[in-house]
Symmetry: none
Subunit: 258 residues, 2 copies
Amino acid sequence: MHAEERERLILEAVADTGFVSYRALEARLDASPATIRRDLTRLEESGRIQRVHGGAKLPEDEKPDNPRGLAGTPFEQSITQNLPAKQAIGRAAAKLCRPGEGIMIDGGTTTLQMCPYLDGLDMQVLTNSLHIVHALLPQTGTRVLLPSGTVFREQNIVLAPAGEDSMPRFHAPKLFMGAAAVGPQGVMQQDVILVAAERRFMDRAEEVVLLVDSSKFRSSSGAIVCGLDEVDTIVTDAGIPQDMADRLRDLGVKLVVV
Amino acid sequence: MHAEERERLILEAVADTGFVSYRALEARLDASPATIRRDLTRLEESGRIQRVHGGAKLPEDEKPDNPRGLAGTPFEQSITQNLPAKQAIGRAAAKLCRPGEGIMIDGGTTTLQMCPYLDGLDMQVLTNSLHIVHALLPQTGTRVLLPSGTVFREQNIVLAPAGEDSMPRFHAPKLFMGAAAVGPQGVMQQDVILVAAERRFMDRAEEVVLLVDSSKFRSSSGAIVCGLDEVDTIVTDAGIPQDMADRLRDLGVKLVVV
DNA sequence: ACTTTGATGATCGAACGTGATCGTTTTGTA
DNA sequence: TACAAAACGATCACGTTCGATCATCAAAGT
């Protein structure tokens, strides 16, 4: 039985009664537990089912978190682009963290998606993004730190003037960073404000982890943040072009593909 | 029988007659007493039923403004207390500002009400309150600055460890400050976190403006921020007790009554 | 024919849901 | 008021489910 056939059977069973138990799948599908779980994980990441303990069910309609209905700002529009991929990337990135560790998270719609998966890890998170602060606030175990500076509305981040020590005595093993585009020239962002903010973080991180969905490898943007050689790890999805993957591996960049 | 199915049955039964007895559930659901209790606990926490001794009933209608549950935090509850007075006080306080000036605003439900009146004044506002940042964000002319530090959930403020310079090179002619209570002993706050935050601000302000509705003169609270002599101006409403007004005038505190 | 890549299966420890038992609190009744 | 029964919350033990890792296998490319 092939993957495609299993998927079809699972979706059929879920659509039928709204729920299938894990046991039922094990009986109906001639496959090992591990394979069934992988199928379920894949189907959940593409948003077609929702996993619960003991099985899977029809996905709830999206959260009514946005009462106005329309996503107004460019940021809010961008959140929904490639959302399943970003969630999967965020999840994989969160797995790179060790409980209790101190990390830095740069603002961005992809890095935002790793926040839910940090719950329970008791992390210490330094971020310049007010969106990320908001996302982490309900997690009582997570300590949230902010640098000082001016709030930049358009980018929704906090940034201090050049040369000012805006995050005293902070140093972290890992920096999780987003980007507008990634190409042979390096990592790019929309504007120089974001570049300045990210460079500030990079100075204080031992390891730079880049979170980008694969569409970013096919686009280009205005301001260069750093060269590819300054990135230690890239978390992305399977759509990454082969030549980029090869080039990155040659540069010694660790690739995590979800 | 799975959790989801049990929940569905319980909600069905409650919606039917407005009440289900524990015994009825035990008969209808094939589950142990402990599991039923856990289901009820979960459903109550999400606000979908209300437990009573012996069973569960439909939840009392909540505040009309807040359809689903979350008026929970003390802060959000406190916003509506004496709201008209707080708005008037906020408006009067905003009048003390001169366009373009740099000011500091301490977190609190009264100081929050002065934010709308700052629009168009092109102020530079340093605040430690995320609520105030949020309120000022739509005002494109207002520059918002944040100190560095850890986010304290309960108080919704940013505060750095003692001795750390969390707001480099900032100095302001005025500090607008809230309080939990004001009495002969001085200005009081709920906890020492807030006291530390306000003392930090006071060190950098030339003039301290206190925003309190008159009910604060009749209450008391845990931690003392400063003596009355360290306050330069108090903005309050007409309900201020006469003896307090006299005492304050004797101390040279400027009183603004709205 | 050999290596590489991707999918599958097996195993382990950890997390979760469930059921049973305890002592305590509330309710109803004598 | 006093008492007994019911209901409650907390805790522990057990089985299941989960995710991660490693081993195995088949297909594709060299």
